[in-house]
């Protein structure tokens, strides 16, 4: 089974029916898989804070949401995470591509990578880091934890997890 299928299987098994995405090269496969699943309503967002608004609405409407985005989005969404998702105590699994880590070819991505965990820590957001493919074995438990505690939870997935960038 591909890692993309495994991730989306875990989403579906945990009742996630509403997924918003802002693309990243590393996430292309998992976004395709989300789009392909009949159990999931896939709604692409133009910006990640917009996506978090959609997810908040879907949750209050009775559907379990998730967002798929790049770690640069943490810089965009601090206010939304704090004054909407956390303030109203809503669950939000965030599958995040962790750009700017080992094997990153684009130097500018490192500038946000060095702040990513510090920002998540400052926001008291439970954070998990997938580095090897087997780390995804915990995804099912992380999703259950997210909907148990009604918090945003970050799952950082780095380039090594996704198999690097081609020939590098």
């Amino acid at each position: 089974m591909s890692i993309n299928t495994k991730i989306v299987d875990d989403f579906v098994a945990n009742g996630i029916e509403f997924v918003t995405t802002v693309p990243c090269k590393q996430l292309a496969g998992v976004i395709d898989e989300v789009e392909a699943r009949e159990e999931i309503y896939h709604i692409p967002s133009n910006k990640e804070d917009e996506g978090m608004g959609l997810c908040a609405g879907a949750f209050m409407g009775g559907k379990r949401p998730a967002i798929i985005m790049q770690n640069t989005a943490i810089g965009v969404t601090v206010n939304t995470l704090v004054t909407l998702t956390q303030y109203y105590r809503m669950p939000l699994p965030m599958l995040i591509s962790y750009r700017g880590e080992l094997r990153e070819p684009v130097a500018c991505q490192v500038e946000m990578a060095v702040h990513t965990k510090a920002l998540l820590n400052q926001l008291n957001i439970p954070t998990y880091h997938f580095h090897k493919e087997s780390d995804a074995d915990e995804l099912d438990t992380i999703l259950k934890y997210t909907f148990m505690c009604n918090k945003p939870v970050a799952i950082l997935t780095d380039a090594s997890f996704w198999g690097g960038y081609g020939d590098q």
Binding site: F18, Y41, I43, P44, S45, N46, K47, D49, E50, G51, M52, G53, L54, C55, A56, G57, A58, F59, M60, G61, G62, K63, P65, N79, T80, V82, T83, L84, Y87, Y88, R89, M90
Partner: protein, 184 residues
């Protein structure tokens, strides 16, 4: 008419539906005029009323009305293409367009100058866009509800505010009673 007068006039229509209300004075005014458990008051996060409302509408069947402002739509312009391309016929976006950032002291917005939010919504692909004058809002809103077609209403009104207290209700209480109204 100023925004609070428009809200007072449409309150009898709003009370039968799920309402997501924009941050600041619009929420405070609606809370004072006709507090309902089916009202979701935004206490923070400028710009996301339309996104939250669309999410609620896509997740269930009851009619959802997002009350937004021209300044807030300008803040989250990306919402209009998302709305246009994810049609929820139980969703109405009511933009109260007074051409100013009311909650922060009535600074003028671009929507009160050259920019037409109705034209932008149409260009984004929204199929039912109605621009109306403040006094006609009730009729236009009721028609949009009855049409069962996703509709964007741009209500042109005067800028101006009334003095009123902030909402002190706990956010989790606001969310919980709103969710119970969804399930009722």
């Amino acid at each position: 008419m100023i925004r609070s007068e428009v809200l007072r006039e449409i309150a009898p229509i709003l009370r039968d539906h799920l309402v997501v209300c924009n941050i600041g004075l619009p929420s405070q005014e609606l809370h004072m005029i006709d507090d309902q458990p089916s009202n979701f008051y935004m206490l923070g996060t400028m710009g996301l009323s339309s996104s939250i409302g669309l999410g609620v509408a896509l997740a269930q069947d009851k009619t959802v009305i997002s009350i937004d402002g021209d300044g807030s739509v300008l803040t989250n312009f990306g919402t209009l293409p998302t709305i246009a391309n994810n049609v929820a016929d139980n969703f109405i976006l009511l933009i109260v367009d007074n051409g100013s950032y009311g909650s922060t002291g009535d600074q003028p917005t671009y929507a009160g100058k050259k920019t037409s939010l109705a034209a932008v919504a149409k260009a984004c692909g929204c199929e039912n866009v109605i621009e109306c004058q403040d006094k006609d809002t009730g009729g236009v809103l009721q028609q949009a509800i009855d049409s069962k077609k996703m509709t964007v209403i741009v209500c042109k009104c005067d800028s101006g505010n009334i003095k009123l207290p902030v909402i002190t209700m706990d956010p989790v209480v606001i969310r919980d009673r709103f969710m119970k109204s969804v399930q009722a």
